[in-house]
């Protein structure tokens, strides 16, 4: 009989204790800090170098340098953080929340701000006329010295 009742204590305790499962969605789940939910980008800092696109093992990221867009296939992303670890500008982050479910394969596209127009500086000559004159003299002296030596 004793061998038949091994599970009884466990079962009884289970019967009179609170459920182990969480009361989701009434009580939302708290994710640990390190949870790899979804990749987010701070598009202002992105330089569109394409390093993340090359590093992505599932080919989920597409970077268009000319159009200044960064897009991610949410269903294709495997949250390995390889893009984030290789980003030279550290503009990729991981959100603890998973991307929302959808009926279609969603591609999120982010467009960067237009590059700041560079101030039009007047073309400056590389050397001043005095410097050019000095360089000419030095070259002539070197040539003369070389001829004398030979």
């Amino acid at each position: 009989m004793a061998t038949l009742m091994k599970f009884t204590r466990l079962a009884l305790r289970n019967l009179f204790s609170k459920p182990v499962t969480k009361d989701y969605p009434a009580v939302p789940r708290e994710y640990p800090e390190r949870t790899r939910g979804s990749i987010q980008i701070n598009i202002e800092d992105c330089i569109f170098c394409g390093s993340c696109q090359r590093k992505c093992p599932s080919g989920a990221i597409t970077v268009d340098r000319n159009a200044r867009t960064w897009s991610i296939d949410r269903m294709g992303c495997v949250q390995c953080e390889n893009c984030k670890n290789g980003c030279p500008k550290h503009c990729l982050t991981t959100d603890v929340h998973y991307s929302e479910p959808d009926f279609t394969k969603r591609v999120d596209t982010y467009t960067g701000p237009a590059p700041a127009a560079k101030p039009e500086a007047p073309a400056k000559p590389k050397f001043t006329p005095e410097q050019i004159e000095e360089m000419k003299k030095a070259a002539a002296a070197a040539k003369k010295a070389a001829e004398e030596n030979s």
Binding site: K6, N14, V20, R34, T35, R54, E81, N82
Partner: protein, 359 residues
Amino acid sequence: MSTRTIVPFGPQHPVLPEPIHLDLVLEDEKVVDAVPKIGYIHRGLEKLVEKRDFNDYVYVIERTCGICSFMHGMGYVEAVERIFDAEIPDRAKYLRTIWAEMSRIHSHLLWLGLLADGFGFEALFYQCWRMRERVLDMFEESTGGRVIFSVNKIGGVLKDMPADMLARFVNNFNEMEKELRELTNVFLTDFSVETRLRGVGILTRDEAIDLGAAGPMMRASDIAIDTRKLGYAAYEDIDFDIITSKDCDSYARCEVRIGEIFQSIDIIRQAVSKIPDTEISIQIKGNPNGEAFARMEQPRGEAIYYVRGNGTKFLERARVRTPTFTNLTPMLKTLKGADLADVPLLVLTIDPCISCTER
């Protein structure tokens, strides 16, 4: 002589989480032969090594399987590190050991649950998976993933576990150990469980050697071989005995796996007490040129990783020999002569991982 009937088993079957097909040749209720067929879940992950940078391939190979994912990543990176002759920091080795043992605990708890479900003890199944959930929570807290961990890199690991986290994990495992003693006691001593497991699916010691059994399947047939004793990662510094059983039946396989859960908890405790405070990774420069093997003791048995590089960033070959593949032949041996009603249980006792087998 009774007539022979062929009963198809799988690829879809309630006890099978993954697809495998068996043609069972029956004489009345007895199985006289079983012909396996695999290939339902082949994804060509080994071929992908030719198209992915060897550093990024870690994320591909660990997706071979959802249960042994950590060890697949670890086996691959250890093999590549051997090509470079790289000595990785000690802390990384210990962290790998801790995560590997946590994988073993959650894999064995998953298996115990499936076994309980296989012989119709639903309540026990839920209790096992409730315990497993706590291990998965610890994985999520330390690596960020519950199933795929992505913490291995060539030259070390990507994430560190601070001292307070390690202490909390050890506490959790100490608590779990008490509950597990009670839970596993049901498996080992309950009358109805014993009737389903004792004397079912006998694989003798000689048969296990001849047919090349691996892991707990082999150790349950009284063969004391454990690849962890080779001393990869930090296992050199860890003191543990190989768990074996002399019974050679399904009960022995259950007993060995239960023993290994407690052993893993002990290994984690030892590793946490000995973990040194060093860097967690080193920079490895250049591309691999040459070939290397790594052998790992996965929850299901010995896995072998082979990589060959040609000096470019794309490897020429990456090969994984998984334990389930070698365990299929012993499984067929145990099926012969078994009752049809025991077939699901016998298929479960090798702890089949078909995704690993087919890659």
